[in-house]
Symmetry: C2
Subunit: 321 residues, 2 copies
């Protein structure tokens, strides 16, 4: 990968990461990679996680209270499930430094603005953010420095906030770019709608079909597992994502998710009817036009072009030829 940030001088003095799971530890590693922060402070709820992160040496100091972690920080990033963001904001508020930026990484934005906003003190800049990156793994050992490379990070700044806030948005933009991401500014409500179709509903139907398959009586679970290479296994990846995080996403973006789900179900009913009535053309037409979208995603650098996601037999193939 081309080194687009050869300069390793810090772009922020002190960063506090609240939550040290997949996203928190990936952020720590991404900062370390380029020397983006003079000091990284970390907080995790469990002693086990704090010990693990201290041992990895990817942060400079680990705290067992959120207030101590955020004290004197110029940038505070909340890397916890959306459902607890309000409580976290309330807890850290008294310890925040004037002029600091408080941001998050939550997958929904309108609900986060509503739950966090009221607790942010005057003079602290609250800028909601969402890096669209992740894997199905969670916890402090799942992070890696390249997680955000070439992925998009959406900021949904508050409106009518003045010059100092606008400059803080610029600084946060610079920070995420330096972590490898492309940054996009978007309205919170629109973000929630876009993510409902590109992320939330896909997760929901993946969880759903894995659940349906597990509950069958005529087909055994062992058969589902053995013959999963026919397509099913693709769905199990995102259906293995963190349950707490995803519960909170659906509870906090229900409106947009239900809207998109209604469209999905409507289309699925039409497809079901086409199968029942053997409407060959309707099936062929849909199956042809969906190919184009994948091509575009690959061209946009958001997906690998290798067959089967480049899973093992694909790479063996290349090695053999």
């Amino acid at each position: 990968m081309q080194d687009i940030f050869p300069d390793t001088s810090p772009i922020v003095d002190r960063v506090a990461l609240i939550g040290l799971g997949l996203i928190g530890t990936s952020l720590a590693r991404a900062m370390r990679r380029r020397g983006l922060a003079a000091h990284i402070a970390g907080y995790a709820q469990s002693q086990k996680t704090r010990d693990a992160v201290a041992e990895m040496g990817i942060v400079d100091s680990v705290y067992d209270t959120m207030q101590n972690a955020v004290r004197d920080a110029d940038l505070v990033i909340l890397c916890v499930p959306v459902g607890v963001l309000g409580a976290v904001a309330q807890e850290i508020a008294p310890a925040l430094k004037p002029g600091a930026i408080v941001s998050d990484v939550g997958s929904v934005k309108k609900a986060v603005i509503e739950s966090v906003g009221p607790y942010v003190p005057e003079g602290v800049h609250f800028i909601p953010a969402h890096p669209i990156a992740g894997t199905e793994h969670s916890g402090p050992f799942s992070g890696f420095a390249e997680l955000f490379d070439e992925r998009w990070c959406v900021l949904t700044p508050l409106e009518g906030m003045g010059q100092a806030y606008a400059e803080a948005v610029d600084r946060l933009t610079h920070f995420w770019s330096a972590c490898g991401a492309h940054v996009e500014i978007m309205e919170a409500k629109h973000h929630d709608l876009v993510l409902a179709i590109t992320s939330h509903v896909p997760h929901l139907i993946a969880y759903n079909i894995v659940g349906t398959a597990a509950d069958l009586e005529d087909v055994t679970r062992s058969e589902v597992i053995k013959y999963s290479a026919g397509g099913f296994r693709d769905f199990t990846r995102i259906a293995a994502s963190d349950p707490t995080m995803w519960r909170d996403v659906f509870l906090n973006n229900s409106e947009a998710v239900l809207e998109m789900l209604a469209r999905f179900s409507e289309d699925l009913t039409a497809l079901q009817r086409a199968i029942r009535w053997k409407d060959a053309d309707a099936l062929y037409n849909l199956f042809s036009r969906t190919r184009e979208i994948r091509r575009s995603i690959i061209e946009a650098g958001q997906e690998t072009p290798e067959p089967d996601f480049g899973r093992s037999h694909g790479s063996e193939h290349e090695a053999d030829d």
Copy 2:
């Protein structure tokens, strides 16, 4: 990979492949890898494909009529979409050698038995088969020798066929094993039900959500593409599969697909209700138990354990550490 077939002496004299797409050319390469056939004859409808395969040198002779391709063959494998299998069987029937095995690779089995069965001459052994392997790519250039390694190939032999047929089933089992696959014998109707949930419905809902996303007015296509890393891109892989093949699958396995789709929709409606009524426990419980299934699939050797399917940033990560 361990060489489990060090002996390269042919296990079948003459094999004919009717259709030289992803599966046909992968079979040719898998046979070549171990020297499984003394002679591989191939047929493809288009001159372009015949020229391409001749140039690749993965078959010994290329024919422009199916009858010439199957003449004198001991094993004929039909690698064409399910919808044309009946017509192909009718065409090749007069040229089949007595004692030959005719098999296929179709993703549905009951309909294939009904469409092919009546044309198979007395003394020729028709053994329906389905290797559960593939990628989203199609055409003669997409094949590779390792496609069937560690995947399952299901045979659905006809019933009450006597000793010579049973021996032919043994020979075909040996052949697929030598191509790298595990072989399982199953009743055709049960196969169609198992594949409906492990392959056909997953493809259908993948095609469906990609279609839904493409048709939105409030979210642009460019937004869907940019932010696809949140989960959507996983679905686009199988929604990029061959449209003709999949049209035929749904037309020919409609009963089992509609049954499984009804269960999927029922479960999705319950999930939708849980979101609307903010039933946090129902969501958390489903999201937790689906993780277990993926773990089992990985343990069964049917999936890669690497996060994100081992897509590029995952491997970069490993390279860096």
